[in-house]
C-alpha cells in the first residue's frame, strides 16, 4: 500500500510539474510582455509609475531574461509566497482575487459529484435488476438526453423557466441581502438553497454516463454463480443485490469518477458563466477576453492541479476498496 501511495503521488507530482509548464506557456502566448501592457493600461488611466517600481517588477518577473529564468522566478514566487503574479486588469496580485472563489468552485464541483453518485448508483442498480423494463428505457433515454444537452444550454433553459414561470432570477449563489454579508448560518443555508441549480446542471450530463457504467457493471455481476448461491440460500432480493454485486460493481465506478473529474470541472466552469456564480469560471473568461494572462495562467494551473489531486484521491480510495489494484 505504501509503495502504491508513493508511486501514485510521484506520478501526480510529475503531472503537476508539466501543468506548471503548460500554464507558463499560456501566460507567454500573447505577443509582448505583460509589463508593457500593464504600463500602457496605467498610462491610459493617467497614472504615473515611478521608474524604480518598473525596475523592481522587471527584476521580480525576470523580464528580458531567458524563458527558463522567467519560469524559475514565476515558480519560486508561487511556491515561496503563493504569489501568482499581478492581474493587469485589476491591478492587484492574482492570489488576492482567487482564494475566495476557489472555495466556492470546489464546493459546486463536490456537490455535483455527490449528486451524480446519489442518483447514478440506485438508478444504475435499478436499471440492471429491471433490465428492459419501461423505467430502464426511460432512464436510458434521459441519460442520452443529458449527454447531448450542453451544460450552458440546460442552465439557460432552467433560468428561463425560473424567470418566466416563477418570476425570479435563479442565477448567483447568494440572495442579494447575503452577497456581501460575513459568514453565518443564515448565509450558509442561503448558499445551499442556490447551490442545487448548478449542482443539477453539472450533474445531469455526468449522471448519464455513470448510470450506463453502473448498469453495465451490475449486469456483468448479477448473473455470476455467487449471486445464484446467495439466492439459493434464501437471502431476500434486496439484501442480496446490495450486499454482493453492488459492492463489486462499485469498483470500476470509483475509477470512472476519477476520470470524469476533468469534465466536471469544465462543466462547473461554463455553468458558472451562464448562472453568473461567484466562482472561478466567470473570472477566467474575463481574464481571457481581456488577455489578463497572469490571471488566466494561474486559474488554468489551479484548476488542473485541483483535478489531479481529486483524481489522486479517487485512485487511493479505489486501492483501499479493491486490494487487486494495490498489488498490480
Amino acid at each position: 500500500m505504501f509503495q502504491f501511495l508513493m508511486r501514485r503521488s510521484l506520478a501526480a507530482l510529475a503531472t503537476i510539474w508539466v501543468i506548471s509548464i503548460v500554464s507558463f506557456v499560456i501566460i507567454q502566448l500573447p505577443p509582448g510582455d505583460f509589463l508593457t501592457t500593464y504600463m500602457a493600461n496605467l498610462r491610459e488611466m493617467g497614472e504615473r509609475v515611478p521608474e524604480e517600481q518598473i525596475a523592481a517588477m522587471r527584476e521580480r518577473y525576470g523580464l528580458g531574461e531567458p524563458m527558463f529564468v522567467q519560469y524559475y522566478k514565476w515558480m519560486r514566487g508561487i511556491i515561496q509566497d503563493g504569489d501568482f503574479g499581478r492581474s493587469m486588469e485589476w491591478g492587484v496580485p492574482v492570489s488576492m482575487l482567487l482564494w475566495d472563489r476557489i472555495g466556492l468552485t470546489v464546493m459546486v464541483g463536490l456537490s455535483s459529484i455527490l449528486f451524480v453518485w446519489v442518483v447514478a448508483i440506485p438508478v444504475g442498480v435499478y436499471s440492471a435488476t429491471h433490465q428492459y423494463s419501461i423505467l430502464d428505457y426511460l432512464f436510458t433515454f434521459i441519460g442520452f438526453l443529458g449527454l447531448a444537452i450542453p451544460n450552458f444550454l440546460l442552465a439557460l433553459v432552467l433560468m428561463w423557466i425560473g424567470w418566466s414561470v416563477f418570476g425570479q432570477n435563479v442565477g448567483g449563489l447568494y440572495s442579494p441581502e447575503y452577497s456581501n454579508a460575513p459568514w453565518s448560518i443564515g448565509k450558509f443555508i442561503d448558499l445551499l438553497s442556490h447551490l442545487w441549480i448548478p449542482m443539477l446542471i453539472v450533474g445531469t450530463s455526468w449522471t448519464a454516463g455513470l448510470i450506463r457504467t453502473m448498469r453495465a457493471n451490475m449486469l456483468d455481476e448479477i448473473n455470476q454463480p455467487y449471486v445464484e448461491t446467495a439466492r439459493a440460500k434464501g437471502l431476500t432480493e434486496w439484501r442480496l443485490v446490495w450486499k454482493y454485486p453492488v459492492r463489486v460493481a462499485l469498483n470500476p465506478f470509483i475509477s470512472t469518477v476519477g476520470y470524469a473529474l476533468p469534465q466536471i470541472v469544465g462543466g462547473v466552469l461554463i455553468t458558472a458563466v451562464v448562472l453568473n456564480l461567484p466562482t472561478i469560471g466567470p473570472l477566467l473568461l474575463r481574464a481571457l477576453l481581456s488577455q489578463d494572462m497572469f490571471m488566466a495562467g494561474a486559474i488554468v494551473m489551479i484548476l488542473s492541479i485541483l483535478t489531479v489531486i481529486g483524481t489522486l484521491i479517487s485512485d487511493i480510495l479505489l486501492a483501499v476498496f479493491d486490494p487487486r489494484i494495490r498489488l498490480e
Binding site: 503531472t15 447531448a148 450542453p150 451544460n151 450552458f152 424567470w163 469534465q263 473568461l285 488577455q291 489531479v308
Partner: protein, 392 residues
C-alpha cells in the same frame, strides 16, 4: 483485450455447429456465406434508432450543403423593421378566411409599448401572403460553382418589405431559420474536420505506440494520460483566446479545428493502440513480416483494414464531443465570431436571460445541437454493435 478474445471464441463456437450440419436452413445458409460487410449491414439494420439517426444526419448534412438554396433569406441581412419577430404560424387559411392548398403567412401589426418601448407583434388577419416556391432572388453559387438565383421558398415580390420568419427573427431582424441552416455548415463541418485531424494524429501516434511498444509506447502513453488528467475546457479556452484577433475567419476556423482535435485524438489513439497490440501477434501479421513486407505496408495494408469498422464507430462517437466543445467555446465568445454563423455563435445571442425571456426562440439553435449530438451518439452505438457482427 480479453473481451476481444472472448468474442472470437464465442463466434467460433457459434459458427461451428452451423458448419457441421449437412443441410442448412436457408436463413442460416445466408448468414454462413455472407461477407463481413453484409453481416455488419444486417446487424446495423436491426438497430432501428441508429438507422433513423443516420437518416436524420444525412438530412442535416444535405441542408448544410444546400443552405443557400433552402434558406429564404441572407443570414446576415439586417432588417430594422422586424426585430424579435416570434416564429410565424404557416396557415392554410387565406385573408378571406377560406381554406387554400397553398400555405401562407399573415401580415404583422407592430405595437410599441410607450412606457417600456417593448415591441410586440399582432397577427394581421386581413393580410395574407402565399408562400411561393422556387422564387428567383439574390443570385448565389450553388455548391460553389453553379450560378443560380432560385431559392426553395419565399414570399415573392408581392409581399414587399414583409417577410416570412418560420422560426422568428433575432435582435437585428435576421431570419433565424436561415441562420440555423447556414450555421449547420460550420457546426457540422467542424466536427468532421476535427475528427479527421484527430484520426490522423490518433492513428499515427497510437499506431507507433502499439506497433513498436517499448519506450516510444511509454512516452506516448504518458502524454495521453497527461492530456486526459487535466480539465480540457480551461485549457482550450486559453488556447482559443490566444489565437491572434487579426486572423481571417478561415484561419480562425482552422485554428479552432486544430485546438479541438487535440481533445479527440487521445481516445482514438488509445483505441488504435489497443487494436495494434492485439493484432501484432496474429498469424497473418507474422506471415506478412516473414514475406519481407515493410513496416508501413504491414500497418496500412494488413492491420488497418482489419479494424477500420471499429475506428469508424469510435469516430462517430467522438464527433458529438467536438460539436459540443465548439458550441461551448463560441457561446463564451472564445471560438468563432460574428459574422461567421455557427450554432454556438447563434446561442451567444441568447446569453442574457432577459433576452431569452423576451425571445425564447433564440434557443432554437440549441435544439439543433442537441438533435445532432443525439443522432451521432445513437448512430455510433449502432455502428459499434455492427462492427462486431459475430457478437450478440
Amino acid at each position: 483485450m480479453a473481451n476481444v478474445e472472448q468474442r472470437g471464441q464465442k463466434a467460433n463456437s457459434e459458427l461451428s455447429p452451423i458448419l457441421d450440419a449437412d443441410i442448412l436452413e436457408p436463413e442460416k445458409e445466408k448468414i454462413a456465406v455472407a461477407t463481413p460487410r453484409q453481416l455488419m449491414w444486417w446487424k446495423f439494420r436491426k438497430h432501428r434508432v441508429a438507422v433513423f439517426s443516420g437518416i436524420l444526419l444525412i438530412i442535416f448534412y444535405t441542408i448544410a450543403l444546400f443552405a443557400d438554396f433552402i434558406s429564404p433569406y441572407d443570414p446576415n441581412a439586417f432588417d430594422a423593421k422586424h426585430k424579435f419577430v416570434p416564429p410565424m404560424y404557416v396557415s392554410f387559411i387565406n385573408e378571406d378566411g377560406n381554406f387554400t392548398l397553398r400555405p401562407g403567412v399573415h401580415g404583422l401589426i407592430l405595437h410599441k409599448n410607450p412606457e417600456t418601448l417593448r415591441i410586440t407583434y399582432e397577427k394581421d388577419k386581413s393580410v395574407w401572403y402565399p408562400v411561393h416556391f422556387f422564387v428567383r432572388e439574390r443570385p448565389y453559387k450553388l455548391l460553389g460553382f453553379i450560378e443560380t438565383d432560385i431559392h426553395l421558398f419565399g414570399l415573392g415580390e408581392e409581399a414587399g418589405s414583409d417577410k416570412i420568419f418560420v422560426l422568428g427573427s433575432d435582435r437585428l431582424g435576421r431570419d433565424m431559420l436561415s441562420r440555423i441552416f447556414y450555421g449547420a455548415r460550420i457546426s457540422l463541418s467542424i466536427g468532421l474536420v476535427s475528427v479527421f485531424l484527430s484520426l490522423t494524429l490518433g492513428i499515427v501516434l497510437g499506431g507507433i505506440s502499439g506497433y513498436y511498444g517499448g519506450w516510444t509506447d511509454n512516452i506516448i502513453q504518458r502524454v495521453i494520460e497527461f492530456i486526459r488528467s487535466v480539465p480540457g475546457l480551461p485549457l482550450w479556452m486559453a488556447l482559443s483566446a490566444a489565437l491572434p484577433s487579426d486572423w481571417s475567419q478561415i484561419r480562425r476556423y482552422f485554428g479552432i479545428t486544430i485546438i479541438l482535435s487535440m481533445i479527440g485524438w487521445t481516445e482514438l489513439g488509445r483505441q488504435v493502440r489497443g487494436r495494434f497490440l492485439a493484432l501484432r501477434t496474429e498469424d497473418f501479421v507474422l506471415s506478412a513480416r516473414l514475406s519481407g513486407a515493410r513496416d508501413l505496408r504491414i500497418i496500412l495494408r494488413h492491420m488497418v483494414p482489419s479494424f477500420t469498422s471499429h475506428i469508424i464507430a469510435s469516430l462517430t462517437l467522438s464527433v458529438p464531443g467536438i460539436i459540443l466543445t465548439e458550441t461551448g467555446l463560441s457561446f463564451l465568445g472564445l471560438g468563432l465570431r460574428q459574422p461567421v454563423v455557427s450554432w454556438g455563435v447563434l446561442l451567444q445571442e441568447a446569453q442574457n436571460i432577459r433576452t431569452v425571456a423576451l425571445a425564447p426562440w433564440l434557443l432554437l439553435p440549441g435544439l439543433a445541437v442537441v438533435l445532432t449530438v443525439l443522432a451521432f451518439n445513437f448512430l455510433g452505438d449502432g455502428l459499434r454493435d455492427a462492427a462486431d457482427p459475430f457478437s450478440r
